[in-house]
């Protein structure tokens, strides 16, 4: 057991932090729902960050740390599946990667070169062409959302490959959620430390302090479970991590919006970028009952 980063992991974390620093504030004139950055994607690609998991001295744990860190940015790009799912499969998958689950719109579907097509228990892979997808700019989810409109050639995966896909989708979901939770909590802590009502900062009110503290406990737990699952690659660990992530998100999203008051409803405050990404992640792989079913199968 070693809960601190080793030299290699620290080096990657340092590099990611450096890169992330350029994307840490949203543009002042931004009033949209999704804040996508092609530049963030390009820089990650140019610096070979999408290959961290495959590097022997790094591995998926370092990749999960990177996913968690990058998810805290107001900007988003398709990071988690490229960093965590792609290296786990013995199939060459061009990135970005997106998921279409039971025909529903998905995040990054419009920019994806690989689509994971999930229909009930079957999992397949397809490569969309121009015109196969259609963007949904009005979606509230703070990812670039798109739906499938064309008919694709889907290559079905074997059952064992499908299991691997589901496991790493869960790890990716949990690692990304951990970062989103942290960012949403940090933003809210800042808000209630500054915002005064009744002559004192809201953050001095115990009714809010305790809820915030509970949120922090949940968020940190999600992070540990995600990192552990990335390290073990175990289907049960992944199911628990994703379940805890979705469960914690449902609680934290509500609390951080409550504490942010009307300001949290505006596009001026970045909060929605994180909370609406969390809401998007909450439905993945059948939501909490889907993760619980997997945990039931693998953990008991």
């Amino acid at each position: 057991m070693d809960f601190t980063l080793n030299e290699d992991q620290l080096a990657v974390a340092g590099e990611i932090d450096k890169l992330a620093a350029q994307f840490k504030s949203s543009p002042v004139d931004f009033h949209g729902f999704a804040l996508y950055s092609a530049e963030l994607d390009k820089q990650l690609e140019d610096n070979q960050f999408f290959d961290i998991a495959a590097m022997p001295e790094m591995g998926p744990l370092a990749a999960a740390l990177a996913v968690e860190r990058l998810a805290q940015l107001p900007y988003t790009a398709e990071v988690a599946l490229s960093m965590l799912l792609r290296p786990a499969l013995n199939i060459e998958l061009p990135r970005p990667i997106a998921v279409i689950e039971n025909g529903r719109p998905g995040r990054f579907v419009g920019v994806a070169k690989t689509l994971i097509i999930i229909d009930g228990d079957s999992v397949g892979i397809a490569h969309p062409q121009a015109g196969d997808t259609q963007a949904i700019p009005e979606s509230l989810f703070a990812y670039p959302m798109a739906k499938l409109v064309g008919k694709l050639d889907v290559q079905l995966l074997s059952e064992s490959e499908a299991d691997i896909v589901r496991t790493w989708l869960r790890v990716a979901c949990a690692a990304e959620m951990a970062g989103l939770l942290k960012a949403a909590i940090d933003a809210t802590v800042e808000h209630i430390s500054v915002r005064k009502q009744f002559g004192r900062p809201l953050g001095t009110l115990q009714a809010l302090r305790h809820r915030m503290a509970e949120c922090a406990v949940l968020a940190g737990g999600v992070r540990w479970l995600a990192l552990k699952a990335a390290w073990s690659a175990d289907a049960g660990d992944a199911a628990l991590a994703a379940l805890h992530a979705q469960e914690s998100a449902s609680r934290v999203i509500y609390d951080v919006h409550q504490m942010s008051g009307a300001m949290g409803m505006t596009l001026e405050m970045d909060l929605h970028l994180w909370t609406y990404r969390m809401k998007a992640l909450m439905s993945e792989l059948g939501g909490r009952s889907g993760q619980a079913e997997a945990a039931g199968k693998y953990c008991f």
Partner: protein
């Protein structure tokens, strides 16, 4: 960062595990029904003696006090295995975790010689006299007085919720020698001292656990004081930091959850809604486990543990709650005595948010120290 146990740790866990298996009697689960029942306390003495002989009672203590200088991982592995088995050490876990080490740091040579070797041999039981009727979370307001008379102190007052007091040999007792937080001192008081009366408090948490302890003109020698007058707050802070993670409650909670699930599976009752609750509880147990391990890792590396300890404690409260509610809802017969092990967990689990520092106090600490929110007005 990695989550591997090394070979030495795995071997140590196996040794402890096998020792427990070989030394618990067949009716252990019935004996373990109350955390401090007479039967359990009697058995604990025998068990701790055997543990000591096998070098498994105080491995993390310094060699000069009968230990092996083992690192905090081993101490925690030991605690996990014990707690999973229903804590066959009984109240002696306190000696091992913090009372012994505190005496090593702050005791006089005479106090060390008198008290530490019997602890290392597993022969003695202590109780912790902190809480009072008017002083629970606000411990610094305690009122039990120790008045100096020549080279003696006369102690008057009352302690409450004192675990193991009925059978304890010695009390690690806080009493006031002057006003304020800086006016509290520690006394090591033999429980047979005239003027001490112990009364058990009937409770829902099992036989023999909590007590009232009355001190009526209890006379103790000056040499019974641990450290200087007024030093209690510093010493207790240090003592409790020795067990910042607290008891590895998640370990028994996990075992309990798996037991309950296996009972439900046998009855074909492990179905969708039930699975979902079990899975959530399991995830909470694992989160608490990893938080606890993180704190042990910090101790091994001498990284000061700040409010993470409270975060870990609160994560543990969450998992205890989910597991005990799971049992209540899906294996209710356990609460009516049909499964002593599940009942024992229930009775231990329901105090997780109260004993040794209430959950809300942990949340206050997390808000101030971890999230750095502005303080509440006093």
């Amino acid at each position: 960062m990695d989550f591997n146990w090394n070979d030495e740790q795995l071997a140590f866990r196996a040794t402890v595990h096998n020792f427990i298996k070989d030394n618990l009697p067949e009716n252990w689960e019935h004996i373990a029904h109350g955390p401090a029942s007479k039967e359990q306390t009697v058995f604990a003495k025998e068990f701790c003696g055997a543990l000591a002989e096998a070098g498994l009672l105080v491995p993390h203590w310094p060699v000069e006090w009968g230990g092996q200088d083992a690192d905090p991982w081993k101490a925690f592995i030991l605690a996990e295995e014990m707690w999973m088995a229903g804590e066959p050490r009984g109240g002696q876990y306190m000696n091992v975790n913090w009372i012994g080490p505190t005496l090593m740091l702050f005791g006089s040579p005479a106090q060390q010689q008198q008290y530490i070797p019997p602890m290392a041999r597993g022969e003695t039981l202590w109780c912790q006299g902190f809480s009072e009727p008017e002083s629970g979370s606000d411990l610094a307001s305690l009122r039990t007085r120790a008045e100096r008379k020549g080279d003696k102190y006369i102690i008057n007052g009352q302690k409450i919720w004192t675990s193991y007091a009925g059978d304890a040999d010695t009390c690690f007792c806080l009493a006031r020698t002057s006003q304020g937080k800086g006016g509290i001192s520690i006394f090591l008081i033999p429980m047979t001292t005239p003027g001490i009366t112990v009364r058990e408090i009937p409770s829902i948490i099992g036989e023999g656990d909590i007590h009232e302890v009355f001190f009526d003109d209890v006379e103790v020698a000056e040499t019974a004081r641990l450290g200087e007058e007024g030093q209690a707050w510093d010493i207790v802070g240090k003592a409790l930091s020795l067990e910042r993670v607290g008891i590895p409650r998640f370990a028994l909670a996990t075992t309990t959850l798996h037991r309950a699930v296996s009972l439900l599976k046998d009855q074909n009752r492990f179905t969708a809604g039930v699975i979902e609750q079990a899975a959530k509880a399991k995830a909470a147990c694992e989160a608490a486990r990893l938080y606890s391990y993180q704190i042990i890792d910090q101790r091994v590396k001498n990284i000061p543990t700040g409010a993470e300890a409270s975060v870990g404690r609160y994560a543990t409260v969450i998992c205890e709650r989910l597991v005990s509610e799971f049992v209540v809802e899906h294996v209710p017969e356990a609460i009516s005595g049909e499964n002593p092990m599940l009942l024992a967990h229930h009775q231990r689990g329901i105090v997780a948010g109260i004993a040794s520092g209430a959950a809300e106090i942990q949340l206050n600490l997390i808000a101030t120290q971890y999230l750095e929110l502005p303080r509440e007005p006093r």
